[in-house]
Amino acid sequence: MTRCAVLTAVGGYLPPTVVTNEDLAGQLDTSDEWIRTRTGISRRHRAAPGTATSDLAAEAASQAMRCAGMDSVDVVILATTTPDRPCPATAPTIAAKLGLGPVAACDVSAVCSGFLYGLATASGLIVADLAETVLVIGAETYSSLVHPDDRSNAVLFGDGAGAVVLRSGETGELGALGPFDLGSDGSGRDLITVRAGGSEQWAEEPGSRMRDAYFSMSGREVFRNAVQHMNRSARRVLDKADLDADQVDWLVGHQANARILRSLTDSLGIPEERSISNIDLVGNTAAASIPLALEHGHREGLLKPGDLVLLTAFGGGLTWGSTLLTWPALAR
């Protein structure tokens, strides 16, 4: 037995406003049938104006802390593409909203893979004995990033937050996390991007910092890259653990698009009915998608103590990451 990170709680929060496909069909040149057949999404939640990512994150984190029966942690890590502000990081704001005192807090930026990167970072802090407990949150307000008239992205993305609490433990116990696989390919940075607001545009054109301030994505290239990188990353993590795909009880893949998830289960050889999916109800919530899917699987009673869960994500960067988890016995 060696020291490792153990998942001990999960929480999720969705803002109350629901946007259905019919709502979008009234605003954009689209239809419920078009959206469903191409994405598998029927509704998504939207944060109200005035609600920031830290507000969603604090709600999910509070739920996770209650689930853990804890009122303090050593570190807060937030994975997000939509921080409250470009500077400073949002995690300290969340820690302050939760009344956690002067804890270590920082953001992790890896777009839709961010939660996996956050889990790996937290796991590393625990294994290195730098922390006993870490709150890892994935939270997004993509409504702030997607142009409302951008049909292809407006139908896909939703707002929300999910959180888990990790504590130190030992390999072999329920909730144990690992091994991990992480990777990136920066040559694909233009495939999923917001071009404005960074030092690059400032360097190119001083004074025109808000051009291209909205999210853009190259659907065709992203589809193939997402399937291939999640497949390869998941296989690497299974190899590290000396396990086969048929030993996995549940696949929890990044909820990018129902068709990407279907292609992923095909290429991994995992039956679709062993893939946890809530994309029809929440859309693509980027860094929040994996913890929200875990919270969904827990709440619906799908995830049972001892189940082997394979987590895999792909996102802008390009980035990807995977890990394994034996599901713990959690309060509901």
Partner: protein
């Protein structure tokens, strides 16, 4: 070829909800209403099913089902999977 063609057709019917009664070897992917994202998914499915590499750029909406089956056969021969 006919076995490959039948498998290609079955993928389209089972996965992409194409009506078997209306699809012929002369039907193009556009005739079957496969848009660009469906073509990527179709290429990935062909790769999984036949164990060959087929980029979405190798397929276009004007390709017929006969041409798709021919492409798969060619890739299988190149990979040493078929005579």
């Amino acid at each position: 070829m006919s076995e490959t063609y039948e498998t290609v057709l079955s993928i389209l019917v089972d996965r992409f909800k194409v009506d078997r009664a209306t699809a012929t070897s002369d039907s193009t992917l556009a005739d079957l209403e496969l848009d660009s994202l469906f073509i990527v998914e179709f290429a990935l499915t062909l790769e999984d099913r036949f164990g060959v590499s087929i980029s979405e750029d190798a397929l276009s909406s004007s390709d017929t089902l006969f041409a798709v089956a021919e492409l798969v056969e060619q890739r299988r021969r190149e990979a040493g999977l078929a005579s």
